[in-house]
Symmetry: C2
Subunit: 398 residues, 2 copies
């Protein structure tokens, strides 16, 4: 009985909602006019005018010239999301690097800073180094005319409530990452002291990036797999991340594909990760890295092709379960998989076709797709911040 009931509605709530609605409408369209927005969302033109005026004042939108429709009638004033002002700071911390980016409201990557370093170390130290990189980015933000509205961390592990519950690849355990990062950043840049910090699993962030920056036509309900050392997964339903009860949803890498298979570090046996993770794949193909593997496959190396086919079969098997359970419109493969698609896809597709309840997976083209190269976890993290801004622009002012 103590769950926080959904909030009441009152007139200030109406205003907030409609400000967000108008901002998101302009954002989705890229460019529009007041009248077009009004027609789209069902508000009257005067109401939209008033909302737009406020959004202009606050720096979320800019006017730029007039439309040339060729039609009769007064041309409209073009509205666009502001390229200056509110921005999202995305910070990806991975085993071998930290990558930071600043993305503005138009969705363009205005600044990117990637530092290769070994993060399998003491969590506070790693987070302090990441905060250092972020601080450099923030130092440049002013010159770019950007005012970061928040920071988000993409982390390789189970994340809930701002804490990394476990991240085997980093050797972290119950690390309050948001707090540590926030404190380190505030120490380096007092001006950034009040910057809200969010965090999530890198697979979720990558999925968010795909949603926001992926190739047009990406559906809004999909499964996203990230092939890295292990196999990360995320579930997006109707444009929203499915986080589950504790924020751990999406662990596709530990779906069981062979009950009696090899022991996995998670304690189970025969997890997908043991067949389709980067480590397993390279071992089976006797290749040193993914480039080499792709090269071997291109040259028709039997061992490489067999390893890829087997990995594809296992991916398909695990995915068939996930598809039966979640009924997505598409499955998106990211990380190392896009490069290996030609050799993985046939086995994946075959397995899906055989194992998914019929009707649930019509063999349309494009239901199995490679992640967009533009969609990395750091940008996804920035998108998470921007999503908050779009959801309640007023909250990100002052």
């Amino acid at each position: 009985m103590n769950q926080p009931t959904e909030p009441k509605a009152d007139k200030s709530g109406v205003r907030r909602h409609n400000l967000s609605l108008v901002l998101r409408t302009v954002h989705d369209a890229g460019e529009t006019t007041r009248a077009a927005v009004a027609a789209r969302v069902g508000l009257t033109r005067p109401a939209v005018s008033s909302l737009v005026e406020q959004l202009l004042d606050l720096g979320f939108l800019v006017e730029s010239g007039k439309t040339f429709s060729g039609q009769a009638g007064r041309p409209g004033t073009v509205l666009k999301p502001a390229g200056t002002g509110p921005a999202g700071l995305g910070v990806e911390i991975n085993v071998a690097y930290v990558s930071v980016c600043l993305v503005d409201l138009t969705g363009t990557d205005r600044l990117r800073r990637t530092v290769r370093l070994d993060n399998r170390a003491d969590a506070p130290a790693v987070l302090a180094r990441a905060a250092g990189v972020a601080a450099e980015a923030l130092a440049d933000a002013d010159a770019l005319g950007l005012a970061p509205a928040g920071a988000a961390l993409a982390l390789p592990g189970l994340v809930s409530d701002g804490t990394v519950r476990q991240a085997p690849n980093l050797g972290w355990h119950d690390t309050p990452a948001e707090r540590l990062f926030g404190e380190a950043l505030a120490a380096l840049r007092p001006a950034a002291g009040r910057l809200p910090v969010a965090s999530d699993n890198e697979a979720n962030m990558a999925a968010l990036a795909e949603l926001r920056f992926g190739t047009p036509g990406t559906p809004r309900t999909f499964l996203h797999l990230t092939g890295e050392t292990g196999v990360g997964g995320a579930v997006v339903v109707h444009g929203e991340l499915l986080r589950g009860a504790h924020g751990f949803a999406g662990e596709i890498g530990h779906l069981v594909v062979d009950a009696e298979g090899p022991r996995c570090r998670c304690g189970s046996r025969g997890c997908l990760e043991q067949y389709a993770g980067q480590a397993a794949l390279l071992r089976a193909a006797e290749a040193g890295d993914v480039d080499e593997l792709a090269g071997c496959a291109e040259r028709g190396d039997t061992r490489a092709l067999a390893a890829l086919a087997e990995a594809g079969r296992m991916l398909g098997r695990a995915l068939s379960g996930a598809v039966n359970l979640l009924d997505p419109e598409a499955v998106v493969l990211g990380g190392i998989y896009p490069r290996l698609m030609p050799w993985l896809a046939p086995a994946v597709t075959a397995e899906l076709a055989e194992r998914v309840v019929s009707g649930l997976w019509p063999a349309d083209a494009g239901r199995l797709r490679a992640a967009s190269p533009a969609a990395d976890a750091a940008r996804g993290a920035a998108a998470l911040v921007l999503r908050d801004v779009l959801a309640d622009p007023l909250a990100h002012t002052l």
Copy 2:
């Protein structure tokens, strides 16, 4: 770009929202007063008074006496959901029976009518018979002071957009069930002509029933399995059914537990259903029905115990995948399983403990639970209707 943008907010929308909010608050509490509602939802007392007055007028709430707090101060007027007026009509159509119930706003089953008959027949005929049973129930509704606000069908198959895409156990295929049922009902009872008809898969309806009528303390994010001829599944996240892109989500029965296992009628191999479905279970235990199976198990029959242990293992294996993917707070087993829990649960629990990513499934008591006997699909269907009423009481008036 053509997706229906979320609706604008305006003042009439505020009113609708707050009417729903107040109604749901009273509903959740069972009994309250205006002042308590105001404190709970954050509206002022005058605002709540106005909203309550309208809800009283419309017949959604009733006043009943005064509170006796023993405290100083004027006692409050007790508010309750009306036991007369709006009601939900739930209709479950299964292989061997049709069950209809009328549930009022207090959540009590006011009328139940179950007819055993063989529904493996021509869909229009079956739906017409079901409409007949529903019409009888509606005929009694007046006497009970109930005004059905809608009907919902629980159907054993894949349902989307009011149509049964496939229902192997009934032999249906692309059957426009909502329309057929609605037309048959209108023919029998012209007064019910405008009754909106909804429909969903019976597993989803059962999950909804568990959510609404289950034992108190049922979490709001859970997996629900229904053991019947096959194995149905539903996913509830934060109190909402997860339906997926086309409405087919939740097919847990076809998760693969043994890639080389027996062929399933879905076309795949080694689906959970082949091990833990009623048919498979009875076959393995050489029992005629579930009662007999439970009896054998009670007497320590080795064959029965082995069959149950094996089914439990397979259930656990499939569930571990689903838990890794969805991070629920609990798993609820319904249908034939509650009766078999003592013999199933150990194997299920063991398998979950081994295979779920650690931390994601702490071995709390009550994370694996039997469905409440009060939660059947017909009541779930009625709950679906009532949920709509609670979400927008004004829409169900005229």
